[in-house]
Amino acid sequence: MPPEIDYSKCTGCGICKDTCSEDVFFGPDIVEPDGISKPKVTYPESCFHCYLCVEQCPSGSIKIRIPLVMHVPYK
């Protein structure tokens, strides 16, 4: 379910959280072992797949994983 955060790259800047109109990242951040608090994906099913969190993230830590049910059939 979209989006996913790569915590090894995330700096905890919170831009993704400010960007998302659906507030997919709602709620308290998680605190990583390094002491930095980082957003967490709380409500992925409300994602609009607008991709803006990916584009706005300065560290390239977010990936949108398209759920299998949305995969486009093709030939």
């Binding site: 507030d23 994602c47 991709y51």
Partner: protein
């Protein structure tokens, strides 16, 4: 439970910071009003328009010639016809007459409306006929309009959902809002409200019911403006009607006319007669002529139907790719990349999408609703980015004119209503046993689909309405939220239940079949209802319906 309320005063309150709300705010501020935008998300990145757009419906005399009626007549033949046939001629004419000015304005603000210095029309049009849609690069339209609003001193309150209007028959006096992160209550005292809360989804099940966010409109588009307008007594119309859209299967995106390919059956035969080869100037108009063709082919075992863009020249393919990006298909294009789907080699499946609510707030060409001081723009009263931009702009003008002659006041029932709303919110926040928003939302969708779906009758509608009212009564005191995010969802669900209920009532009143509205007990279209709209309004807590001449 004691709920603190923050008080805020403004001349003009724009409810929703989409294209309509931003344009209204910019215009009203330019004309001297104090303006606040209350937006459920963040105006830079909210609403349907955030991901972009590449077609703007407009009439440009230097391009189209001086016969505006010939232009309108042509548009009635396209997918616009379905929507335009529910709007009065003065509304359509006002829209088009103002559209070129908005195009010039947007271009001057940095939203590219021209290609190499010229207007470029393509898509949404039959080969060899009048071109109806201006191609533009709308990817950055929301940040650009937000900057224009901020530059003028519009106050933008992001992450505030307005959930109840205050006032009476004499006019709007205020509104109640809620901070979506802390759950803080806000009372706006205002002379006018401009509703621009966008589309309605989550009323009927989506294409992927488990993923409510997979829709051509964002998850938070829950008809808040329509429901609030209805509760305060404003007239809505044709709330029982719906349309179906079509596009890429499973991955819901609007903008089918951005695709330059041909719709083909599994044997490679075009399903329509309009184009046989991909064409960047005209999209395959079979989709606009018959959006349900995908579903019918599938059900008849003749499908699936594929969008085939193979054969475009390199430069045409670049044009298509850029258009797809401007139309908001970035995630889709990334998905294609990850899956190794190449539009020059592969054909992708298209399908008919879910029900799309057609009910609107009744307004005249001046964006006035039936409640003084209440204006509306955007999807709530018309449709498309162009409708939102033009009528947003005009509503800002009208609202500013209106406030000059009135003072701030309080409605007789405002205090009672505020207390009622506070009680409702306290109940939603209660920790006792109850139902969550999703459960309530799914039950509503299920009821609408089963009893007010593709084919209905007096028997199904009566049974469905009775069930919906039972669900509703149960939820009155048992909808529960664990945090402010869920509280906002509960408030949205309450709006959806209001819209669901009047959908049933209006569907019972429409004793005919028309377009996609099918009654098995009235299978014919009643010619006596041609040119009429079905009005529904709330009078002292009771829904009242009335047939009226369009524009009357």
């Amino acid at each position: 439970m004691k709920l603190e309320i923050e008080n805020i005063k403004t001349d003009v309150l724009c409810v929703g910071g989409g294209i309509a709300g931003l344009m209204a705010a910019i215009r009203a501020r330019d004309l001297g009003a104090d303006v606040i935008i209350a937006e459920k998300g963040v105006t830079r990145f909210s609403g349907s328009a955030r991901i972009g757009n590449d077609h703007f419906w407009c009439y440009i005399p230097e391009y189209h010639g001086n016969d505006i009626n010939a232009f309108i007549k042509e548009c009635m033949l396209t997918q616009l016809g379905n929507m335009l046939s529910n709007l009065s001629y003065p509304i359509i004419r006002t829209w088009l007459e103002n559209s070129h000015e908005i195009v010039k304005l947007w271009d001057s603000w940095g939203i590219p409306m021209k290609k190499d210095g010229k207007y470029d029309f393509s898509g949404h049009s039959f080969p060899g006929r009048i071109m109806t849609h201006l191609k533009y690069k709308g990817r950055m339209q929301k940040p650009i309009l937000t900057d224009q609003a901020l530059k003028r001193g519009v106050k933008i309150m992001d992450r505030v959902m307005v959930f109840e209007l205050l006032g009476d028959k004499q006019g709007i006096t205020g509104a109640l809002g809620m901070d979506t992160r802390q759950g803080r209550l806000i009372k706006f005292q205002t002379k006018t409200a401009i509703l621009g809360t966008g589309a309605v989804i989550r009323l009927y099940p989506g294409v992927t019911p488990a993923l409510m966010g997979n829709n051509i409109r964002p998850f938070t588009s829950t008809g808040d403006g329509r429901a609030m307008a209805y509760r305060i007594g404003a007239e809505l119309f044709n709330v029982e009607l719906f349309s179906r859209h079509a596009g890429v299967k499973n991955f819901c995106r609007s903008g089918q006319a951005t695709w330059s390919g041909v719709c083909r059956d599994p044997d490679g035969k075009p399903i329509g007669k309009y184009i046989e080869k991909p064409n960047i100037k005209y999209s395959d108009m079979i989709i606009e002529v018959d959006k349900q063709i995908f579903e019918r082919y599938h059900e008849a075992g003749k499908g699936p139907i594929y969008m085939d863009c193979r054969g475009l020249s390199e430069s045409d393919y670049a044009y298509l790719r850029e258009a797809l990006l401007n139309e908001g298909n970035i995630a889709l294009i990334e998905h294609f990349k990850e899956e190794g789907i190449d539009l020059m080699k592969n054909q992708i499946e298209f399908s008919t999408y879910e029900f799309r609510y057609l009910g609107r707030i009744a307004m005249n060409e001046h964006t006035e609703t039936s409640i003084p001081g209440l204006y509306t723009a955007g999807d709530e009263s018309t449709f498309s980015i162009s409708g939102a931009a033009v009528f947003g702009w005009l509503s800002g003008e009208q609202a500013t004119r209106y406030i000059k002659n009135i003072d701030f006041r309080s409605g007789e029932k405002d205090s009672d209503n505020i207390e009622k709303q506070k009680l409702m919110i306290s109940s939603m926040k209660s920790e006792s046993y109850g139902y969550d928003w999703k459960d309530a939302n799914l039950a509503l969708q299920h009821t609408l689909a089963d009893y007010a779906g593709a084919i209905k009758s007096e028997a199904t509608l009566t049974a469905g309405l009775s069930h919906l009212r039972r669900l509703r009564k149960k939820l009155d005191n048992s909808l529960r939220a664990r945090n402010p995010w869920e509280l906002i969802r509960c408030l949205e669900v309450r709006n959806l239940y209001d819209l669901g209920e009047i959908t049933f009532i209006a569907a019972l009143e429409r004793k005919e079949s028309r377009g996609m509205f099918k009654r098995s007990d009235y299978p014919y279209t009643d010619p006596l209802l041609n040119g009429k709209v079905l009005i529904i309004k709330n009078s002292e807590g009771k829904p009242i319906t009335e047939w009226r001449e369009m524009g009357g």
